[in-house]
Amino acid sequence: MAEPLLAIENLRTYFHTTAGVARAVDGLSLAVAPGETVGIVGESGCGKSVTALSILRLIAPPGRIESGSHIRFEGRDLLALDDRGMRAIRGNRIAMVFQEPMTALNPVFTVGDQVAEVARIHAGASRAAAWTQAVAMLDRVGIPAPDERAHEYPHQLSGGMRQRVMIAMALMMKPALLIADEPTTALDVTIQAQILELLAELQTQYGMSVLLITHDFGVVAETASRVVVMYGGEAVEQAPVSALFAHPHHPYTRGLLAAMPRLGAGRDRLQTIPGTVPAPTDWPAGCRFRDRCASAWDRCEREHPPLYELSAVQVSRCHLAAEPGRRAAGDAAPAHRVTA
């Protein structure tokens, strides 16, 4: 593999609250190669969004990126940069698209101003030049009549259009890495299809890497080349997308895939994962998934599982890799129900 564009090593982001220390991200390592799309999948509270914010160092107290964490990007350790150095990277080399475009955009500035601001700050462009670039970028992301729309305020645009504005802002400086945190979750399914298509098209054109954070395995299957599944602040499984869907190993990955309602499955009863995610202040000792796992045995309580290498490309944080005979019948691989 080529030198990764982004390499996260042992990232730990803790929130020191009065209720205890919430270990939101707890020892995460992952790499993104140039031009690659990596998906991070998991449910609420698994640490996926905190991972994104940590990369951009947008963690505010009581949150803290603990010492011993490393985030290397284009050969530099982001955690060692001063604020000025970090500002030169944020929105320039690494850009982010947030889930909720209404709260991420400033309601009192026109969208044109907000997109143009990026060029003025990072490229020192003049007001007029930045505006021209902004309009061209709005056009590029498929906003109709961009020279008129640039004069409008966020509330005058639909959710899909606002997300296009967010993408225009993010791509103004042609970043090497785009972090997209649930970019289509707030959108309707037909608009989601438009936005995903736009992102794929722009990625090819600009040759950028994308770190896509989502809870939707469907979105991952269609856009990412590699997937990291997170649970309890940790990566529990990591593999190329085809391997992960063909032979998921971790009981949590399998459970999630089986619990997803799929089109064309008719009225089958859904498989469920019992229980709920434990609180981040209170991860269970040993395996963090064991209370909800059909296969768990005493080793899972005693010993925190390492990431076992299943193959050159797939890792799983589950003792079943060492003792495959322990897999319970209830932890069967999800049946692949595909319409003919």
Binding site: E43, V189, T190, I191, G218, E222, V241, I273
Partner: protein
């Protein structure tokens, strides 16, 4: 035994031409604004024990439809008959009595439970109001209900903030069940939940339906979720039902171009699957100013779309037994070619079913 077949086939809920227009504030000067036509002439029936799925994107009117049936918003016009009663004619105590039989489970399990009441008190409230049980009998009933929805009976003394989203949704379901309804409007009951918990709640709703013979109006934007629970499905767009069919027919052979686009837009969790995709252009128009003719025509991908679609309002007509579609270009249609030509049609109706965009083909070998 005078009319046995008739009684057997009597619908539980009958909604006819339901309309809800929300007025907009008049500007200081200028003409009076047009109202927002949130629901614009919706008709359907639900049989006892049946689940009708109501799907569509934000702003299509699906939630307003559910609320108008229960008169949580007052319909502008139309009729709603429930178990033989004219719901819209009832007032005061009569309406309250009827509401015992028609309940709702809300989307947001955070704002739909009073944070100052224990969950026991929340579930008990309906029992008291409808005088179904009191004292120890009510306590026992509350515990039974909590048990039935998968919560520990001793949770009755806890407050909503102590529970996760999925557990709160179970409380909302227990509250709806407490008054023994025969019909529940489920308004996006699982959209706020994570996948693993969502499956638990869907299965719970399916079990309750089986055990209690409940009928549901299941409102959702997630087509895969609806397929798992509904017997029949209605698709809404801009205040209109544009397609209504059994689940099986709707998912296998959607005939309304909008339904086709909606189904084809759902991402498939299978990286080996190949499927063409219909990408609709633009956004949903404003319900304050809906397009003339067919409300979907500005975004429609039907190859025969022409001037007639912009002029004629398509009737919701039966294209196949039990399969209703509002499209004058999808054969067969009662809107004759001559009528269409009168308003400038250039493309005769034809059967359009983009199979490659609707069904995935997997290259995956069968798993060992």
């Amino acid at each position: 035994m005078t009319t046995p077949t008739r009684t057997a086939a009597a619908p539980l809920l009958e909604v006819r031409d339901l309309t809800k227009h929300f007025p907009r504030r008049r500007a200081l000067f200028g003409p009076p604004p047009t109202p927002v036509r949130a629901v614009d002439g919706v008709s359907f029936v639900i049989m006892p024990g049946e689940t009708l799925g109501l799907v569509g994107e934000s702003g299509c009117g699906k939630t307003t439809t559910g609320r108008a049936i229960l008169r949580l918003v007052e319909p502008t016009s139309g009729s709603v008959r429930f178990d033989g009663h004219d719901v819209l004619a009832l007032r005061g105590a009569d309406l309250r009595r009827l509401r015992r039989h028609m309940q709702i489970v809300f989307q947001d399990p955070f704002s739909s439970l009073n944070p100052r009441m224990t969950i026991g008190a929340i579930v008990r409230e309906g029992l008291t109001i409808h005088r179904l049980a009191e004292g120890d009998a009510a306590d026992r009933r509350v515990k039974q209900l909590l048990d039935e929805v998968g919560l520990r009976p001793e949770y009755a003394s806890r407050y909503p903030h102590e529970f996760s989203g999925g557990q709160r949704q179970r409380v909302g379901i227990a509250r709806a069940l407490s008054v023994e309804p025969s019909f529940i409007v489920c308004d996006e009951p699982v959209s706020a939940l994570d996948v693993s918990v969502q499956a638990q709640v869907i299965n719970l709703l399916a079990d309750l339906r089986r055990d209690r013979g409940l009928a549901y109006l299941f409102i959702a934007h997630d087509l895969a979720v609806v397929e798992h629970i509904a017997d029949r499905v209605a698709v809404m767009y801009l205040g209109h039902i544009v397609e209504l069919a059994t689940s099986r027919d709707l998912y296998r052979e959607p005939l309304m171009p909008y339904t086709q686009a909606l189904l084809s837009a759902v991402p498939v969790p299978d990286p080996t699957a190949s499927r063409e995709r219909i990408i609709l252009q633009g956004d949903v128009p404003s319900p304050a100013n809906p397009p003339h003719g067919c409300v979907f025509h500005p975004r429609c991908q039907h190859p025969a779309r022409d001037m007639a679609c912009t002029r004629l309002v398509p009737p919701l007509e039966e294209k196949a037994p039990g399969h209703f579609v509002a499209c004058i270009k999808q054969t067969p249609t009662t809107v004759s070619w001559a009528q269409q030509q009168d308003v400038g049609a250039t493309h005769p109706p034809e059967r359009y079913l983009p199979v490659a965009a609707l069904h995935t083909t997997s290259r995956r070998p069968t798993p060992p």
